[in-house]
Chain length 249, copies 2
Amino acid sequence: MKQPYYQDDHVTIYHGDTLDILPTLENCGALITDPPYSSGGQFRADRSQRVVDKYVQTQTKKGDAKHVREFEGDNRDQRSFLAWMMLWTNAARRACVTGAPFAVFTDWRQLPTMTDAVQAGGWVWRGIAVWEKPSARPMSGRFTNQAEYLVWGSDGPMEQWDNYPPGVFRCGTPRGEDRTHPTQKPDELMRWALQIVQPTEAPVLDPFMGSGSTLRAAKDLGLRAIGIEVDEQSCEDAAKRLAQEVLPL
Amino acid sequence: MKQPYYQDDHVTIYHGDTLDILPTLENCGALITDPPYSSGGQFRADRSQRVVDKYVQTQTKKGDAKHVREFEGDNRDQRSFLAWMMLWTNAARRACVTGAPFAVFTDWRQLPTMTDAVQAGGWVWRGIAVWEKPSARPMSGRFTNQAEYLVWGSDGPMEQWDNYPPGVFRCGTPRGEDRTHPTQKPDELMRWALQIVQPTEAPVLDPFMGSGSTLRAAKDLGLRAIGIEVDEQSCEDAAKRLAQEVLPL
DNA sequence: GCCGAGAATGAATCCATCC
DNA sequence: AGGATGGATTCATTCTCGG
């Protein structure tokens, strides 16, 4: 079993490829993650760009968006994207206990592929929840694509317990110094996503940790969590972020 | 050419099966509709999201037996639903001018099938817009499925013009006297959906008219519209509703 | 400290242009 | 012909800064 990159009372971080690490894990209580979308354009040329060129449109882009990091695994075509998604969703399910809930982020373009992939990976798909982003880029004559989606469900039967999270959640994206990862999710959003997880000892699993928003939110909610990340710099960023005190909510 | 069931300055209603009527139409300016979601009707929605036919799962973990049922079963109903959706989306596209926009309502269960169907029918899929219903029934331990979805795009290149409709729209469902059709959409919602249509002479096409909400909203916005409906009682209800005066907005 | 004006920003998209 | 590149564009929201 691989040594953790970072560990404390609540969270564990592994540095490495998700498909290598996942088979070594077991008894996780939930899968909550934000995988690469392999999206960002109608044409293959657009999708094959560097991540920063696709997704970071600040004026500082040419020159010094130094604090915004590149990330891997976002340049696949549709077929290989689906195949890869089936592999990791299946491996993640094996790392979880029966009945575990899952919630996976995706954008409109990959939503149908994502629902296929999680089901092919053995999960039961039970719905779609909506993240409404207040500041999206409008296009003339079209509906603004101002939402991202949370595909959710469970591994087999899903326990009912006393919690009723809303199906549509509205909040803005992190800005400026708060953002170290190009597609970083706000902590508030991750706490919402974690509402399908019952408070237990079994840790939440995030196989695409990035800058560690899922783990941070889990820790703040008093949950345990395990993160996997292939980029070492992101592991370091996340470890720093998690070493800080638990935030009062 | 079949005689209209109802006709006035702005709207025309045909009574009959959509697949019979659509080939007789041409030069429509847009497709805006709310097709049957296949819940409890002609097709089986409860089996709709099984993907075992597409992606075979080879390995199992202990305790997997109970999941197998989730993957078994018969995709014929889902296949026939998809085939039928491809037929009418294609026929509707042929009834429209090149560049025509489309917007089709669906629920979360049928969303992936719908995006497949419109693309197979020859339309360019450009996004998903969200209808947030404030009055959905919550489920314990789960996200509330409180949204329906508008799959939208165009037949080929889409003209840009001076309109920026929001991608998330919040409004309640009709109640009491206002509701004659079981899945009736609020007029306010249909006016939002029609914001993707440029004001022209070419009529909006609704191949599943139901109680006529699309036509009513189009007329109120000063647009022309054509509706098709197989149920005669619904045709009568819609005709009554459309014969009323144009509502001041 | 509060308020308002002006600037910056966003998992974007389109299209002309260049290889 | 078709892939790759780069510039222009849009508005709601948030941020910055000065009064």
